[in-house]
């Protein structure tokens, strides 16, 4: 194994699947690195360089820069998937789903069902989530709870390079539409990642730490915030089960309920908002199906119910941090 970044892990998953299957094509704004200019080929590879190098290996027939037409090219990718390809589309920032929402949630999500199972949409939509770059309310949201609402869409929130590579590989091989949510602050995170492609099954939470006092469920980059918090708490003698669901659809409800049965306490750490989000969804799950095991109220650690500010001091207070998680856990343990 070799240390690789989250960015490299995603790039390798794409390269591996494109080598393995000629039906895999890549489409999106600037994924080929800036088409049409007379300067350097492959100069970019997406705004954060994730798809760099793919154009030179696979050519412009399989790595396509598109116009700024999300409804058009995501709609086309859905049609291409239904007609036999296995497209991977880049919806740069997940906030942009506003201009192609119909395509994602009414079309891709429902084709198999509404076509009576006569066709399918093996499509992967890669998209960036998360705050932390001081780029305000329309480039920083975490919309996986929105995607998770829709039956027919699978939704992945990898928190590490290893998971990113394995989950993206599974996404491309999957026969349903998958939304693959890349947290933009994780691109430089490094970890041991195998060279060859491997798949991680959907709906299997990762138990990152074991403890008897409290269950912490954290998603995407919040897994790292929760990991730090758990280390602080351990020094106080509070031991946490730390679960990363890794996929919000399907959701590994069994692992969450089993953990709460053992600990009796639940804190959910989510960068998505407090209303109608994964934190409230998981809280509702445990309130309904695990109530008898609870020894304290469930606590959600989320941003406030506001759009996202750009000013660095405000954004830092918007995003859940280690101190808030530690405080929340102390509160449920002391209840």
């Amino acid at each position: 194994m070799v240390l690789k970044t989250y960015r490299q892990a995603i790039n390798e998953a794409l390269v591996g699947e494109m080598r393995r299957d000629a039906d895999v094509i890549l489409m999106g704004e600037d994924v080929a690195g800036g088409a049409g200019g007379s300067g350097e080929d492959d100069a970019w590879g997406g705004p954060l360089g994730v798809t760099r190098g793919l154009l030179s290996e696979f050519g412009s027939d399989r790595v396509l820069d598109t116009p700024i037409s999300e409804a058009g090219f995501i709609g086309a990718a859905i049609g291409a998937a239904a007609a036999g390809l296995r497209p991977v589309v880049d919806l740069m920032f997940n906030d942009f789903v506003g201009v192609c929402f119909d395509q994602v949630v009414n079309q891709a999500a429902k084709f198999r069902y509404m076509f009576g199972g006569q066709d399918q949409v093996p499509l992967t939509i890669r998209t960036m989530i998360g705050a932390g770059l001081n780029i305000s309310s329309q480039h920083s949201q975490s919309l996986y709870p929105v995607f998770s609402y829709f039956a027919g869409l699978k939704v992945l929130v990898p928190s590490s390079p290893y998971d990113a590579k394995g989950l993206l590989t599974s996404a491309i091989r999957d026969n349903d539409p998958v939304i693959f949510c890349e947290h933009k602050l994780l691109y430089d995170m490094v970890e041991d990642v195998p060279d060859e492609n491997y798949s991680i099954p959907f709906g299997e939470a990762n138990l990152l730490r074991e403890g008897q006092d409290v269950t912490i469920v954290a998603l995407s980059r919040m897994v790292h915030v929760a990991t730090e918090a758990a280390a602080v708490l351990a020094r106080e003698g509070i031991e946490a089960d730390l679960l990363d669901p890794r996929t919000t659809t399907p959701l590994d409800t069994e692992s969450i309920l089993d953990s709460v049965e053992a600990t009796g306490r639940l804190v959910i750490v989510d960068e998505a908002g407090p209303r109608c989000g994964m934190a409230s969804d998981i809280a509702a799950l445990v309130a309904e199906d695990g109530f008898g095991h609870l020894r304290a109220p469930i606590v959600k650690v989320t941003p406030p119910h506001v759009p996202i500010p750009a000013a660095p001091n405000l954004e830092a207070m918007y995003i859940p941090d280690v101190a808030r998680v530690v405080e929340a856990v102390r509160r449920v343990v002391a209840y």
Binding site: D61, G75, A83, F111, G116
Partner: protein, 339 residues
């Protein structure tokens, strides 16, 4: 990939291929569609069917001409006014009736209802009820043909209303850019729901919008099944030969209101009557009679045999079971996990 002619219902495929070389069969299908939609309205009027329904009375020549021109391997992504094009492409009467009646033998097992039909075996991918979306999907299907080196052409069928939605413009730009093997069929029946086309756009003919994207276009007499067949055949050949997309505007008229609840009171007096004079069934009957291909007795015999088929198909649809609870949970997800 599910699209495979070997999976086609042999009866649907036979119905599709019957139109190819036989003008009498095309005439017969016009009659069948008119009568089938009349029967569908009776299901609703009598409370036997639920939801809504959108009929294409007056527009049958567009449906039949498209189906006659295209081989069954070409793929159609069409709009919600789908009974006509569905029956033209080969969907059986029973599968269309049963879908309207919410039965297991319906085109998509009762999940879709009146305006959602699929029969990939004869190239009907689906009918779409969010206006215009299928234009992008058809483009994607055409792009797949290019990547897969297939000679399959894709056809998008949409109404005049869809030319005002963004995805129409985005898809035309991409189709031109990619030189995609797609035919855009703009079925101009002059009303988007209740609103006349002239009230919502200043460009006449609408097809001229294709000029913005460097796509060739043509206005076709949508009341004449042979004109539709001929124009579509040329556009399909153009696309199949690698020359890229075409936009065909089929000029036609919707005899009835938008859906079953609309009496179309907004139309000026006498407007529908003008179109009725060039009714697609009348136009084709006159041609066949003039060519002496059929006699009046033959035409009556067609009417009678269609009526019998419709009665039998309706009986069969009524006797099919309603979907079981398990059907609600089927086809939400891929049947097997990722390898």
């Amino acid at each position: 990939m599910a699209i495979d002619l070997n999976t086609a219902d042999p009866e649907a495929l036979r119905r599709r291929l019957a139109l190819r070389d036989d003008p009498v069969q095309r005439y017969r299908r016009l009659v069948e569609i008119r009568a089938a939609e009349e029967r569908i309205r009776e299901f609703h009027a009598s409370g036997q069917a639920w939801g809504t329904t959108h009929c294409a009375d007056g527009q049958e020549a567009v449906a039949v001409g498209l189906a006659a021109a295209a081989p069954p391997t070409d793929l159609f992504w069409v709009a919600h006014r789908v009974h006509a094009i569905g029956l033209a492409l080969g969907c059986t009467l029973e599968s269309v009736f049963a879908e309207n009646l919410g039965r297991t033998t319906g085109s998509v097992g009762g999940i879709g209802g009146s305006f959602h039909l699929t029969d990939v075996g004869v190239g009907l991918i689906h009918s779409f009820t969010i206006i215009g979306t299928q234009i992008a999907q058809a483009l994607g299907g055409a792009f797949a043909s290019q990547v897969l080196d297939s000679d399959r052409v894709t056809v998008a069928v949409f109404g005049d209303g869809a030319t005002n939605i963004g995805v129409f413009h985005e898809a035309l730009n991409l189709a031109s850019l990619w030189k995609a093997p797609v035919v855009f069929v703009l079925e101009n029946n002059h009303y988007a729901e209740f609103t006349h086309v002239d009230a919502v756009s200043t460009v006449t003919p609408l097809a001229r919008r294709a000029d913005s994207y460097g796509i060739p276009w043509q206005v076709v007499d949508g009341q004449d099944v042979e004109a539709v067949t001929s124009a579509t055949t040329s556009a399909l050949e153009h696309a199949r030969g690698g020359a890229g997309p075409t936009l065909l505007e089929m000029s036609t008229y919707r005899y009835l209101g938008h859906s079953r609840s609309d009496p179309a009171a907004y139309r000026p007096e006498g407007e529908a009557e003008v179109w009725h004079e060039r009714d697609p069934i009348k136009v084709e009957a006159a041609r066949l009679r003039a060519l002496n291909v059929v006699s009046d007795a033959d035409l009556s015999a067609i009417d009678e045999s269609v009526a019998n088929e419709i009665a039998a198909a309706a009986d069969a649809a009524f006797s099919a079971p309603k979907p079981p609870l398990s059907a609600m949970f089927t086809n939400v997800w891929a049947p097997e996990p990722a390898p």
